[in-house]
């Protein structure tokens, strides 16, 4: 019942926003209505309809060994600049000490893994946390993009149109997770795409492929028979910064309260 109310309210809000948009820019109201049309891919070997999928990722913190194979594979697969300032995914190490202080580090995004931390004395608990774009259901980055250069595809994946991006960097400011950066050469915003080029061809994202311990689970959110659905059934789940109401689609099992 509660769900029904919230979803109805959301519809009303959407309609109101749509009406406001329609009054100002009539073209988009019609565009919105046509949006069930399937996608004609330029590469004709692709047989993928974005409307038939909803993608998400599960991350089991207890399984992560901090080898950084994921962030390494991501840099290779997506031609992310190798310099240590640009990451689509990275792994953080948390060390919660006896005195309550928390030390976090992430040397070069963990693309070479971790070494023993110099301050690892008196540690109460410690663990690794892989991070990436949360592909939020309500993405603040898409909300603020002035021109529609970053958008949510019908399958829930948040993408950036490099050809259309102005490089204003408002989306980078709006992302609460630090998941975006400005590509130093193209001067456009960049982020994780869930390896969109792979998933439309039935492959898993490179980080999932490279994870040796199955700490990352990729799959459908709306299908009952999906590894991600099972992951959400078997674990207690948390998301990052739930108070911001971004509704992330990256779900963490065994999430610690120190993780920001």
């Amino acid at each position: 019942m509660k769900n029904l109310i919230t979803s109805k309210r959301r519809d009303v809000l959407k309609t109101m926003a749509g009406l406001a948009a329609g009054v100002l820019f009539p073209k988009f109201l019609t565009a919105e209505q046509e949006s069930v049309k399937p996608m004609d891919w330029a590469d004709e070997s692709i047989n993928y309809n974005p409307h038939e999928h909803t993608w998400g990722m599960g991350v089991d913190i207890d399984k992560c060994i901090g080898c950084g194979r994921c962030s390494n594979a991501c840099k290779i697969e997506n031609d992310v600049p190798k310099e240590p300032f640009f990451f689509r995914t990275w792994v953080e190490r948390y060390q919660v000490k006896e005195n309550g202080e928390t030390i976090i580090d992430c040397p070069n995004g963990a693309i070479d893994g971790f070494e023993k931390h110099p301050e690892s004395e008196d540690v109460l608990r410690s663990f690794f946390v892989p991070k990436l774009c949360n592909h939020c259901e309500k993405p603040p980055c898409v909300q603020v993009c002035p021109v529609g250069a970053t958008f949510q595809s019908a399958d829930g994946v948040v993408l950036v149109d490099a050809e259309y991006c102005l490089g204003c960097r408002y989306c980078i400011q709006a992302c609460p997770y630090g998941a975006r950066f400005l590509h130093p050469v193209t001067k456009t915003a960049e982020k994780c795409t869930f390896c969109y080029h792979r998933i439309v061809r039935g492959e898993e994202p490179a980080c999932v492929e490279a994870c040796p311990t199955e700490a990352r689970i990729f799959g459908e959110l709306d299908q009952k028979a999906s590894p991600l659905h099972r992951f959400k059934r078997m674990n207690h789940i948390g998301v990052l910064k739930p108070a911001l109401n971004t509704e992330p689609k990256v779900f963490y099992a065994h999430l610690d309260m120190e993780v920001k």
Binding site: K27, F28, A31, E32, S35, K37, M39, W41, A42, D43, P50, D62, K63, C64, I65, G66, C67, G68, R69, A73, I76, E77, N78, R93, Y94, Q95, D112, G113, F114, E115, K116, S120, V123, S126, F127, F128, G148, A149, F151, Q152, S153, A154, L159, D161, A162, Y164, T193, Y196, H197, R198, V200, R201, E203, E204, A206, E209, A210, P212, T213, E214
Partner: protein, 261 residues
């Protein structure tokens, strides 16, 4: 275009406007010119495929999938290397993708002569996962590479496609590094693991199927730590009958690193 001018003229002829002050007439012309210029030019510049599927260019989806694969995916390797993948599937590394160690291989799938996979033999590769780090989950096999056969390459003793240890480890610390390191600096440093945990021999081969047991009651710890115990150690002593009787010992004390002095 013509219709716009006709509209403007019609508007100007309107009796209200014809009586309006000169300023208003001029401004109406300017405003109409500016707005109609905007309305005429705008649709010409919007990309054709904008707004078909939402507030974005449909072409952006095609751009997003136009990247070439670098990682081929584990299924592609099986097609030629079924012997290796069979071996892999039976061992501890069954969840490991070939490309984690051999590097991205999409090019190798395309043309296997031109693009050789890498066969790393350096001692730096395996420790990326297996070097002891206190942050790694308990039970994950870890070594301290400095003291672990420090001159040999890992692959001389371990077959990476079936990485069971070449001989059954004699020390518990081979796998339980975190615990053994804690215990080594604790007051329990001299207590053997087997003193508290009876360990079936098969645990060393199938660790998850055959588990060591754990002490079950307060009396077990009481063997050393009760006041009337006949021991000659300097262990802290308590009265088992009165000391926090609601709890088992390990609910407050961590036996591998007991806090009480």
């Amino acid at each position: 275009m013509l219709s716009i001018f006709r509209n403007i003229r019609g508007f100007m002829m309107n009796s209200w406007l014809s009586k309006a002050p000169e300023q208003i007439k001029l401004l109406v012309v300017v405003v109409i010119l500016v707005i109609s210029a905007f309305l005429i030019i705008r649709p010409l510049l919007i990309p054709d495929d904008f707004g078909e599927l939402g507030h974005f260019r449909t072409g952006a989806l095609n751009d997003a999938v136009a990247i070439e694969f670098k990682y081929a995916g584990r299924a592609s390797c099986v097609e030629c290397h079924d012997d290796m993948t069979e071996m892999l599937a039976a061992g501890y590394h069954k969840k490991l993708s070939c490309e984690v160690c051999h590097g991205p291989l999409a090019g190798h799938i395309e043309d296997s002569d031109e693009n050789e996979p890498s066969f790393p033999r350096e001692r730096t590769l395996c420790p990326v996962c297996h070097e002891y780090l206190s942050s790694r989950p308990t039970g994950f096999p870890q070594i301290v590479s400095q003291s672990h056969n420090s001159l040999k390459s890992c692959v001389t003793c371990h077959e990476p496609h079936d990485p069971a240890p070449p001989e059954v480890p004699s020390e518990c610390s081979a796998c339980h590094g975190e615990i053994s390191r804690s215990k080594a600096v604790s007051h329990h440093m001299d207590v053997e693991c087997e003193f508290c945990h009876t360990t079936p021999e098969l645990h060393k081969i199938s660790p998850r199927q055959y588990r060591p047991d754990k002490p079950q009651n307060r009396e077990f710890c009481g063997q050393c730590h009760t006041k009337n115990a006949s021991n000659d150690t300097d262990a802290p002593l308590i009265n088992l009958a009165t000391h926090e009787t609601r709890y088992d010992c390990w609910q407050c004390h961590y036996p591998h690193l007991p806090e009480a002095r």
